[in-house]
Symmetry: C2
DNA sequence: CTACCTGCAAACCCTTTGCAAACCG
DNA sequence: CGGTTTGCAAAGGGTTTGCAGGTAG
């Protein structure tokens, strides 16, 4: 119930490592990375810390059309490109999404708009040769 | 390995029922609906048929920031609005997304762009009163 | 007939949780 | 010290899959 958060070694290392990356790692990838410095850390701890860091606005959770959550320490407003083959997420600096609003749902359905989320779908350099099935 | 698909009763009913809806149901919701007409149908069959119908381009899989897949028989190009409280997806007719492209990733990373996916995040009429944690 | 499809149930993957011990402040 | 946090392991939810029996063409 409290709002006091302690800076444990686990939390510090997770944040340090995430900030070192621009690859938007999954929880599992973070687990692998952090384990090099804290071999006994558990995956549950990684999830709990990433979730808390996101709640306090220190990092962001990146939810793409892919199945796994990804995490990003870059809080600036930027667009992500998602590889439909491997799920990798890369930044698209300079891309600027714009949504010219329409009328939500069956006329005036009372939908209160908070934000817009745009991602670019494609195939990354490592995966060239395949096709997509991500939808919009 | 074949490309021949049979029109089974299960497949026909799933497609009929999906076409009757504009609510972008989850697999589980489809299961509930179809079971009224085919009580013994299994959830696995529902998933397999929805997947195949999507592969053949008859329907679309709608992947939002939410955890569950949703399905849509409306193949036209349209924007979805996602409720962050309940996950419901509604259509936003008239909304037109535009992405002014930037340079993908670390200069010329070879990302081949296929599409853009935009969704509107907000709170639906039934859920007014809460807040968000969906990211972009 | 027979390749494709179904129902069932178990397997899978990712994420979340309960709990007792460890730890920060 | 006392409330947080951890490690472990099990539970949870959504989706996928193996299999043997059923069925469309």
């Amino acid at each position: 119930m409290s709002e006091h958060h302690r800076m444990t070694r686990q939390r510090r290392v997770i944040l340090e490592e995430l900030r070192r990356l621009s690859t938007h790692p999954t929880a599992d990838e973070m687990y692998g990375i952090v384990r090099k410095r804290i071999p006994k850390i558990s995956l549950g701890t990684v999830y709990r810390n990433l979730e808390m860091l996101a709640e306090t606005g220190t990092i962001r959770i990146v939810r793409t059309c892919g199945r796994q959550m990804r995490f990003d320490a870059d809080l600036s407003d930027h667009v992500h490109a998602v590889c439909v083959r491997c799920g990798k997420v890369i930044d698209m600096p300079g891309a600027s999404p714009a949504v010219h609003p329409g009328i939500p749902g069956p006329a005036g359905s009372g939908f209160r708009q908070i934000a817009t989320r745009t991602e670019i779908i494609g195939v990354c350099a490592d995966c060239t040769g395949g096709e997509a099935e991500c939808e919009g």
